[in-house]
Point group: C2
Chain length 118, copies 2
DNA sequence: CCAGAGGATTGACAGCCGTCGATGGAACTC
DNA sequence: GAGTTCCATCGACGGCTGTCAATCCTCTGG
């Protein structure tokens, strides 16, 4: 709210002509935008946001069976969310015997954070 | 990659018992996670990422008809994306006569950026 | 008043998403 | 080998998403 607007152009429109020409262009490339959207999509579910939040502060020390009681979802659904995060490059999973230990790959998060903050 | 893991626990599992108890809990609340996921979801499409990118650097000076030639989509689709961004609180739209001037509300972006960076 | 322009809305369509129950598979204990 | 445990995968379901063509609404200029 309260964004200061300075709307000067196009007060008098030439009737019958096109509204306007594109004056600005995106700063991010199409491929960059696609990558940022992919990371954002991986974070577009509350469960996955909390998963990343937990894993970021306990990298490698939390097995999947320890994660599940934190969320009110079944085990296949949790596995599905972890797969989504892995496919987007936000996490990877270390296997040790029976257990699986997911951990966050910080690069993707920094990619999105950099664009948001810059 | 190359995250240093220190996986000590649960080398010997007590047979017949549960794997483990939840030792960690999310740092973000459920409502916070839902809000962050909502913002991320609004940015989960490449077109919307580029829209925010353009609008952030030209707040108030770009009308919708000027935005459309930048993307290879129809006018209803662009309107749909702007509606999504507005419903998520990422932008608002100022109307002046015939034209509509969308502009970014920085709070939502900072909300997500803060969580990513913190 | 009317005609035209910018933009929002509607309805439709294929495709993806989150969820579940059921099943499969690998590793461990006995 | 038999049984158990952790995790992944499969199939199915309702719901949502991005896109378009068609239409509607509001404002402008005459």
């Amino acid at each position: 709210m309260a964004v200061d607007l300075t709307l000067a152009p196009k007060q008098k429109r030439p009737v019958g002509e096109a509204c306007c020409e594109p004056l600005v262009h995106p700063d991010v490339s199409v491929t960059q935008a696609a990558r940022l959207a992919q990371v954002a999509k991986a974070l577009s579910d509350p469960v996955r946001v909390q998963l990343v939040d937990v894993l970021r502060r306990h990298a490698g020390k939390v097995c999947v069976c320890e994660l599940q009681p934190l969320f009110d979802i079944g085990q296949p659904t949790l596995s599905h969310h972890l797969k989504k995060l892995r496919e987007a490059g936000l996490i990877d999973i270390e296997r040790r015997g029976l257990w699986a230990y997911p951990y966050v790959l910080p690069d993707a998060l920094e990619e999105l954070s950099g664009w948001l903050g810059g």
